[in-house]
Amino acid sequence: MSSVAAQDHRPAAAPAAPAPPPPRRGLGRKQREWIAAGLFLAPDAIGLTLFVAIPMVLSILLSFFQVSGFGSYEWIGLGNYERMMNDPLFWDSMKVTGLYVVILVPVLFCVSLGLGLLVKQKLPGMGAYRTALFLPYVVSLVVVGVLWKFLLDEQVGAVNRAMRAIGLEGESWLGDPTLALGCVIAVMVWVMMGYYMIIFLAGLQEIPKEYYEAAKIDGAGPWTTFRTITWPLLRPTSFFVLLMSTVAAITGGLDLIFVLTNGGPANGTSLAIFYIYQQAFGFGEYGYASAMGSFLVLIMVLCSAVIFKLTRGGRFDDGE
């Protein structure tokens, strides 16, 4: 198996290998660096162009067409965008998405940062704790959906049983539009917290110990230490987590929604991405879906600009 794997990446790696060894004459050091950079970047640049950029461009092109879903295309200019502006269902789905992102991202951020700080401690059996916390991420979202559908069942689900056991009334968790959205968020936090915990943990480990030792000598309490050392030095990681989780919140979760709620009840969990999916793959409106998708990408560009500003770019712009 590994031989096949090696074979598979060799062709693309090969062009990079002859990157200029010693010929001192001919090309200057600068030029050689440029060429090397080009070769290093080539495989990913080609791949991203082919499998991400070209599809995205095609998708933007599609957004100017009326598409039947069966291979017929008709140019309609901005027609799809006009339709989008006047489609109350799209704007409802944007509202749901907004609420979802505004709650999910900060909650997920705090929970995973907290867990990161927690599992950084040297405690007995920490490896097991880390694994346990990462465990939900190992299960695929489709299965997570099935799992929680059972746990949140209103008649015999484990959650309602536990509530009844302590004298509370059970709820129809997935049968009420507001509760259902809350459940999707909670399940998403449960799935993703271990993942971002690991990223935070890696970030925390990068902070030099000497800083903490100095703080200890100064007699700083835990809160002061966190505020003056951990938080500022963790900024690159925070930036990364914030950005990734925002993008993931806007574009992800489709598999989970399918199984858990199918966008219901009453469109309560119909996130924009779900509505786009529905228009494209349910109704064959690829042109319209592409218009909404392109709009969503624009929104994300704006979001990342805001996050960039808020975190002062993390380590993002001090490239040199």
Partner: protein, 454 residues
């Protein structure tokens, strides 16, 4: 995917192919990628593909195995007697219904040559030009044999899909719960109010009194239509005018809303929608379900005592139910539409004994359905296929007076679905939801171009 089927055995692309492909890709894609949708890339050779959600597959459920075998036998028989070969491609039903696979294939001109279609998708596929006319391959006599079962599959007198089954909806109930509550057959409700009363009586914390579909989708609409029709309501009237905003529509929406509001109907399906398990575990008293559950009960809970009664009607209403069922279609943009259409007609729509018996076999042995052809229904009955209590009830009481599932396109479906969901599960006003839906249906109907919506 068809032309590359042969490559499947190779673990990885050869280096040269990969590099050549990379080099050629930019140009090829930019030039032809977007607009090459129409089947040009398809190879002419190889067997025709029949995408379906029955077989070939293996299952611990004898009924599922029998259904799979029915498909396999049918295709084997065709292949042994015809030059153009057919190959079955099995997709799990959730993938077939909600997945990405079928839409991607059709959108890029790689659709299957033969496939299964539900009424809700008929117009979309017809207007998209992918449904082949099956009429040339059928006898007039056979078309007549199907009768009204073809109504929603016909455009301008031409048949574009052949139903393999008719699946009426009725109420299923748990006999044990019924008897324990001191109820007898005489208490079987014939009005909505009676049904709500009984549902209220039978419900407990872990037992739902009366279950209606809760998940948004074509299926929920399908199960809701009869309640609207019973009061004389409709989405579009016989002339095709929008008639959605009517007292009957509001009454039907109100019925479901009340039932949920009073806690008789749960907001989510018991046992995550597994009907047999929910009944067996005692989590449900009454559930609006289709005839297909008869064979599921037979396979999975043969000793379970359940009963069937036809949908009760509102005061002053008239009984009806919705008739579902899937059909065979041939892809007009496929590799050999003529052979594909011929296959559909051969399989289900010929006057030969073979074709009729195949349908009898499907509807009475492999599954439990009403046969869409008069001859097949007769033969099935003569063979004892409708002798069991439940099937007899379906054939003699539930099915007559039923109405075929309408073929409304997505925008209409979605407007109705939102009205059902909004009133049932978000507690929104029945009047405002009805008006809103009627408005968006009217706006759509005004600009709609394509085959008749009714």
């Amino acid at each position: 995917m068809l032309q590359h089927g042969n490559d499947a055995g190779h673990p990885a692309p050869t280096r040269r192919r990969f590099l050549t492909a990379l080099a050629g890709a930019g140009v090829a894609t930019a030039a032809s990628g977007l607009l090459s949708g129409c089947g040009t890339a398809q190879a002419k050779d190889g067997p025709l593909q029949f995408w379906n959600f029955y077989g070939p597959q293996r299952s611990p459920d004898p009924a599922v195995n029998a259904q799979s075998k029915w498909f396999v036998d049918m295709v084997d028989k065709w292949n042994s007697t015809h030059k153009t070969k057919i190959e079955l491609v099995y997709l799990p039903q959730p993938t077939y219904l909600n997945g990405f696979k079928l839409p991607s294939a059709f959108a890029t001109g790689q659709g299957p040559d033969i496939f299964l279609l539900s009424p809700g998708d008929f117009l979309r596929y017809y207007n998209g030009g992918v449904l082949a006319d099956l009429t040339p391959h059928m006898d007039k006599e056979a078309v007549a044999d199907f009768g009204t079962a073809l109504d929603s599959r016909t455009v301008d007198g031409k048949v574009y899909a052949l139903p393999m089954e008719v699946e009426p909806l009725s109420m299923f109930y748990a006999v044990d719960a019924w008897e324990k509550a001191g109820l007898s057959e005489a208490d079987i409700p014939t009005t909505w109010d009676q049904m709500l009363d009984i549902g209220d009586k039978l419900r407990t914390k872990t037992r739902a009194g009366l279950v209606f579909e809760t998940n948004p989708g074509y299926y929920q609409n399908f199960t809701w239509y009869p309640w609207m029709w019973q009061g004389g309501g409709d989405v579009l009237d016989k002339q095709g005018n929008v008639a959605f905003d009517s007292p009957a529509t509001r009454q039907a929406l109100q019925f479901w809303q009340d039932s949920v509001r009073h806690g008789i109907t749960p907001r989510t399906l018991p046992a995550a929608g597994d009907v047999i398990s929910a009944f067996k575990a005692g989590n449900v008293a009454m559930w609006q379900q289709g005839i297909w559950q008869v064979s599921s009960f037979k396979a999975y809970a043969p000793d379970y005592r359940y009963g069937v009664f036809k949908l009760p009607a509102p005061e002053g209403g008239e009984y009806t139910t919705a008739l579902g069922g899937w059909s065979f279609c041939a892809n007009a943009q496929g590799r050999n539409p003529d052979a594909a259409a011929e296959f559909c007609a051969w399989a289900l729509g010929s006057m030969s004994d073979d074709s009729i018996d195949r349908m009898v076999d499907w509807c009475t042995r492999a599954k439990s359905d009403v046969a869409p052809r008069a001859t097949a229904l007769e033969r099935g009955a003569a063979k004892g296929g409708y002798d069991s209590e439940a099937m007899k009830k379906f054939k003699d009481e539930v099915f007559p007076g039923g109405r075929a599932e309408p073929r409304y396109p997505p925008v209409v479906y979605k407007a109705i679905s939102d009205a059902i969901q909004g009133t049932m599960l978000a507690g929104r006003g029945v009047a405002s939801e009805t008006e809103r839906a009627a408005e968006s249906i009217a706006a759509y109907a005004k600009s709609y171009q394509g085959a008749s919506l009714i």
